[in-house]
């Protein structure tokens, strides 16, 4: 199984970690809030299904509300495995970041 994460996958996983338990529309709102960039729900749904398949998130059915036209929501929660891979990614990125020679750019 492919345990790599795409950029969007990573972003949504981080939002999930941040929110503890959330669902599609809230992710879209948070995404927009954090990155000032809108995202479509089908795109989020696809990423969530993929993360779930890889075992980084769990989900359960929530109660229906009137805003949703009487439909129930599916609530997602990151797993430990999800937390680890996200942390690992942040960590590795920081390591790589440190190797960038600072002088080259700060003088410009």
């Amino acid at each position: 199984m492919n345990l790599q994460l795409g950029t969007l996958e990573e972003m949504i996983l981080i939002i999930l970690l941040m929110k503890e338990e959330t669902y599609g529309v809230e992710i879209a709102k948070e995404y927009k809030h954090q990155l000032s960039q809108s995202i479509s729900l089908p795109a989020i749904h696809v990423v969530l299904k993929r993360l779930e398949k890889k075992g980084f998130v769990n989900s359960r059915l929530g109660a229906p509300t009137p805003e949703r036209g009487g439909k129930g929501k599916r609530l997602y929660q990151a797993t430990n495995k999800g937390y680890e891979i996200a942390q690992d990614l942040q960590h590795r990125r920081n390591e790589i970041w440190k190797t960038i020679p600072k002088l080259n750019f700060s003088l410009a």
Binding site: G24, L41, P42, P64, R74
Partner: protein, 869 residues
């Protein structure tokens, strides 16, 4: 905020149907919630737009139901189909009526469609059809305008040089030619034209260089048919043809430069031998002559709308060529090419009427299905009730009944198609037309029939489906249901059927009365025992000796015992003169009249038995007669406002004075559709070499075959390039009404079909009505009603429907038929007898249809139907 319905029911249904059930709620819920969130953030319009985008984008393969889930419904469909076939087989008489009626209706409609399609797509194969125009002129005369379509040799170049809107222009002149094959001359029709013709019209080139159709002055383009005839191959480019041009009296040698494909059946232009105008020897003399119009000029404009500009400027063109006077009495115009059919060939309104009849027949068949399906509701009620009790929804029942009507329309359409395939040759032969399913490619045919099946299925199935599915389970179980369907709706449908049938029968009667009137009316000349032989000195390669030989031929004929009279003339009645001249009476103030003229010899009026009403006939062999005398028909006399006993003089052209020596009674030299036109009849002795094209014989019609053979043998000795061509005047008169007779045949055939289908439906309906009223009838009988009374009771309903149908159809019939009759100058009037006759026919058929079943019901033993209660 309270009103938080789903933004789109349609989208909801779509997603719910296609998405995996375990995903559907989440996706739909999220999208919906996001919609309301966006309405507040970004406004309604953007939110809605994004909503739809997200709906579409949610339909990704990962989110969709598996095919297995989607196709779960086929199980129930299979059940519907099974029940549909069982019902068909169980109710044989109803199924037969429905399927037979509908398949005959489909066949009739297909025939009509194929026939009218040819007329509606007449000349459509020319790609530039919309931009092609025929230049023509109208003479303004005191009695109105007269259009003629012949134009002048130099017009083509003038139009091309004066008007930039003209992209291409070509002259077109048809004439006779004789072509050498195996040392024998064969007579053919030949077209003189310009190479632009191939740019204006679409004539697909099979062989040869499309860029240069006439590489030399002596090039000839052949149709495939002619190439095969003369060279036994379509690969004829480079071959040579010896063509004797009858108009030029010379033989020329041409080389084949291209071969074009054969023309479609519904093409007006069908040139088969095409040569350049410049190739004729006298061309240099004619090229700039504006004083003779004899050819057609076609133009291709850059834009269809340019025609208006051109027509607006034509008066200036006329003035620059002739003078102000000509300008005042001539309109110059452009005839759009798609009006050519209506102008020269026929009347496309007849085709529209036929198409209407075809739709009417289909409607009658559809109504049969609707009526019989709802009428048999009682019999289906138990099934419906049971299905409902077991949990079927109304929608499912609707689907079931629509499925049944589709099965029926499918079977009927296939049968109809088979009828068409197997009877097309007979249809073509009977009506002398050339229709074929091969006009369409298979995808078009399959698509067309799929559409027809669908339409028939939906039209005939929707009402029964709605009605049957609404039957309540409770009523069924309580046995409360009477005969199904609101009877007023069904009665309306029956009334429509009979209104259509009455309309068609009345039309058939009127059309046939008009044709009988035209064929039966005295044409004003004798056609019994009159034989016409085409004989022109022009079809001899040596014209002078040809004339001498024709005279010998005539002398020999005159001495035959069976020939009592013989005459030579330019034209004969039924194909009268198309030549016109300008003429005015002596002392006439106004503009000259444009009048047709022809030449006859002194025996012409005798042989056709046309009485000279005033004055005298021509004297045989009088030279003076030929130059200074004319005989008028009465129409011409009236046009000149002559009084018959005066010494009248007419002036031809500028100042040629001609004495009117006699007036003949008007005779119908063309179809009675037209008023008898004024005609000038000049004398030319029969020996005159150029004037005459026909020899008329008055002969004893016994032993005809041998005599014709004898005359033919005599003809073949003459050495004419023309084959022996003869016709009987009676046949020629009948041929004038060929188009009308075909129309009558079609209207007649299709009204018989329509009434047959309507009666079949009525028969089916009677069975149900009697079934339903059986107990009532039995009780009435027990109480002492007579058979007569009971029959009367049943017939009252039918009679009332037909009475209403009659009242509806009469105004329509009067309207359409008077319109049709309008186009005939000599016509019958629409009398009420026609409608009474139509009514009697329909009533008789209805009584025959309903009668037997009713009589059986009325005379049955009442005990039989009362004992079980």
């Amino acid at each position: 905020m309270n009103d938080r319905r789903h933004p789109s029911k349609w989208a909801k249904g779509l997603l719910e149907y296609f998405l995996r059930p375990d995903y559907a709620d989440e996706i739909l819920g999220d999208i919906t919630e996001a919609y309301y969130w966006r309405v507040e953030e970004e406004g309604k319009f953007k939110a809605r737009l994004k909503f739809y985008i997200e709906v579409i984008r949610s339909l990704r393969p990962v989110n969709l139901k598996s095919f297995y889930h989607l196709s779960l419904n086929t199980m129930i469909f299979r059940n519907y189909l099974k029940i549909a076939f069982r019902t068909l087989i169980k109710r044989k008489s109803t199924s037969f009526i429905n399927i037979f009626g509908l398949s005959v209706g489909v066949a009739a409609f297909t025939f009509i469609f194929l026939y009218t399609y040819q007329i509606f797509t007449f000349d459509d194969h020319h790609e530039n059809k919309d931009r092609i125009f025929l230049a023509y002129k109208e003479r303004i005369t005191p009695d109105g305008t007269q259009a003629t379509y012949d134009t002048w040799m130099p017009l083509k170049d003038r139009l091309k040089s004066d008007y930039t809107q003209v992209e291409y222009a070509a002259r077109y002149y048809t004439s006779d030619a004789s072509i050498m094959k195996n040392n024998r001359y064969l007579e053919e029709s030949i077209v003189y034209t310009d190479s632009d013709l191939f740019k204006i019209f679409t004539f697909p080139v099979i062989q040869g260089n499309t860029a240069k159709m006439f590489p030399t002055k002596n090039s000839v383009v052949l149709s495939k048919e002619l190439a095969l005839k003369y060279f036994d191959t379509q690969d004829a480019v480079g071959e040579h043809l010896e063509i004797f041009l009858q108009d030029e009296d010379t033989t020329m040698r041409y080389q084949v430069s291209a071969v074009i494909s054969n023309h479609p059946d519904n093409a007006s232009m069908r040139p088969s031998i095409i040569i350049p105008m410049e190739s004729i020897p006298v061309y240099p003399e004619l090229a700039n002559r504006w004083n003779g119009s004899f050819l057609e000029t076609y133009v291709l404009l850059k834009d269809q709308k340019d025609a208006l500009d051109l027509e607006a400027d034509f008066p200036n063109l006329i003035e620059s060529i002739w003078d102000t006077e000509t300008r005042a009495n001539t309109n110059f115009k452009l005839l759009p090419f798609d009006e050519v059919f209506d102008t020269f060939f026929g009347d496309s309104s007849n085709a529209r009427t036929l198409l209407g009849i075809g739709l009417g027949i289909l409607l009658i068949a559809i109504i049969n299905f609707m009526n019989l399906s709802t009428a048999q509701a009682t019999q289906r009620a138990k099934e419906i009730g049971l299905r409902k009790v077991l949990g079927a929804f109304q929608g499912q029942l609707r689907t079931q009944f629509i499925t049944e009507s589709f099965v029926m329309s499918f079977i009927a359409s296939i049968l109809g198609l088979l009828i068409v395939i197997f009877t097309t040759p007979q249809f073509n032969q009977f009506f002398d037309v050339t229709i074929s399913l091969n006009q369409f490619s298979s995808p078009q045919l399959i698509g067309g029939f799929a559409l027809l099946i669908t339409l028939l299925g939906i039209l005939s199935g929707s009402y029964p489906a709605l009605y049957l599915s609404s039957i309540g389970a409770i009523e069924v179980l309580r046995q409360k249901l009477g005969m199904g369907g609101t009877s007023s709706f069904r009665n309306t449908l029956v009334v429509i059927q009979f209104a259509i049938a009455l309309f068609l029968i009345a039309s058939t009667i009127i059309v046939s009365r008009q044709i009988n009137y035209m064929t039966g009316k005295d044409m004003g000349f004798e056609s019994d025992g009159v034989l016409v032989i085409s004989a022109s000195p022009r079809s001899f390669t040596d014209r002078e000796s040809g004339q001498a030989r024709l005279n010998t031929f005539k002398t020999e004929l005159k001495h035959k015992s069976y020939v009592s009279d013989i005459s030579s003339s330019r034209a004969v009645p039924t194909s009268w003169s198309g030549s016109f001249t300008f003429v005015r009476p002596n002392d006439w103030e106004g503009d000259p009249l444009r009048m047709r003229y022809t030449y006859v010899d002194a025996d012409f009026f005798d042989i056709y038995n046309i009485p000279v009403k005033y004055g005298v006939n021509f004297l045989p062999d009088t030279e003076g007669d030929q130059r200074s005398s004319v005989i008028l028909n009465e129409a011409a006399m009236n046009a000149f406002k002559f009084s018959p006993n005066d010494e009248n003089i007419i002036i031809l052209g500028r100042d040629t004075r001609v004495n009117v020596i006699g007036i003949v009674e008007d005779f119908h030299f063309e179809t009675l559709q037209n008023e008898v036109a004024p005609t000038l009849i000049f004398h030319r002795v029969s020996e005159n070499p150029v004037a005459h094209n026909s020899i008329t014989l008055k002969m004893d019609m016994s032993n005809l075959v041998e005599r014709i053979e004898e005359i033919e043998a005599m003809w073949n000795e003459l050495g004419s390039t023309q084959e022996f061509t003869y016709s009987f005047m009676e046949d020629r008169v009948a041929a004038l009404y060929e188009e009308e007779n075909r129309y009558l045949g079609m209207v007649g055939l299709f009204s018989v079909i329509s009434i047959m289908i309507a009666c079949l439906g009525l028969y089916g309906l009677t069975l149900f009505i009697i079934e339903k009223r059986r107990k009532e009838i039995s009780i009435r009988k027990v109480l002492g009603a007579e058979i007569k009374t009971i029959l009367g009771m049943i017939f009252t309903d039918f009679t009332r429907w037909i009475a209403i149908a009659f009242v509806i159809s009469v105004p329509f019939a009067i309207y359409f038929l008077s319109e049709w009759l309008e186009s005939y100058y000599y016509r019958v009037s629409i009398s009420w007898i026609t409608f009474i006759l139509a009514l009697v026919i329909v009533l008789t058929l209805v009584i025959l249809t309903v009668g037997y079943q009713s009589l059986k019901a009325a005379s049955a033993n009442p005990v039989k139907y009362l004992k079980d209660e």
